[in-house]
Amino acid sequence: MAADPGRDGQPDWLDMDAGPVVRPYTVTGGRVKPVSGFDLVAFVVAAPLDRVDLAPLQPEHRTIIEVAQRPVAVAELAARVDLALGVVRILLGDLLSAGLVVSYEPQPAASLPDNDILQAVVNGLRAL
């Protein structure tokens, strides 16, 4: 089906409302297998930018490294790089194997949290 090219070379029907033109898992090279770990609220931190050779990396990997220069929760990272969670987890898995990020998983619910932490949360919420 041929669409008339618009002024900037994009077909006319392809406006912002169309959403991302790239299928979500294209950036993972078609890999869809779920990656374990990387809980929604796990914090990831990337290696310092000046110690990473960005050249051989995919743009999405680079963006993740840039955003994760400071600790960032996985859900927030996904929102900021504007990729689906499953995609971000696969890319994070790549970076983890390459030693370019570390992940700090949250403690399992059974051991968390002690009452000092809960009290701190209540106090913090009251003070907001």
Binding site: R23, P24, Y25, V32, D39, L40, V41, A42, F43, V45, A46, A47, P48, R51, V52, D53, L54, A55, P56, L57, H61, R70, P71, A73, A75, E76, A78, A79, R80, A84, L85, G86, V87, D94, L95, S97, A98, G99, L100, V101, V102, Y104, P106, Q107, P108, A109, L112, P113, N115, I117, L118, Q119, A120, V121, V122, G124, L125, R126, L128
Partner: protein, 199 residues
Amino acid sequence: MDSVHSDRPGPGEGQHIPIALKILIAGGFGVGKTTLVGSVSEIRPLQTEEVLSTASEATDDVSGVEGKNTTTVAMDFGRITINEDLQVYLFGTPGQDRFWFLWDELAFGALGAVVLADTRRLADCFPSVDYFETRNTPFVVGVNCFDGIQRHSATAVRSALDLDPDVPVLLCDARDRQSGKDLLIALVEHVASRRVPTG
């Protein structure tokens, strides 16, 4: 990926990693979950998406050309920084029943949940209540009083939902920051009371 093989880059070295607590905001479609997340979050609510691929095996699609359906589910979330060591993340649960399985990921490790109820459509929150009761996840019920109109008392809602006596039920206004904070405080205190049965 073999971009760095020389020195260990040591990601995370010397970085301060806070503890993140996860709280779910549940309830029926259109009950005000995202509104509540927005009213208490320090950031404009963010959206994270999960792409669901449904394998074609359950269908009789014989073409094999487009063997799966993809659906995108958006989850709204917000953040509250308690102090440099503690952050609370609030996740709105997807409203539609067909996304139930996503709840397991959301509920994993969650501190607890706020179930929002609308007395005009009380049955909409039954599945949420049921889910958290079954999983033994602590929760509180917030009766969202739209337009400031209180149609039923908290006692009536408690009775209609057949809740355990220790489950807090609060009247609330999801648009109001203080009201949202009160719900979260009630939840955390409820969690604490369950954790220390012997004081």
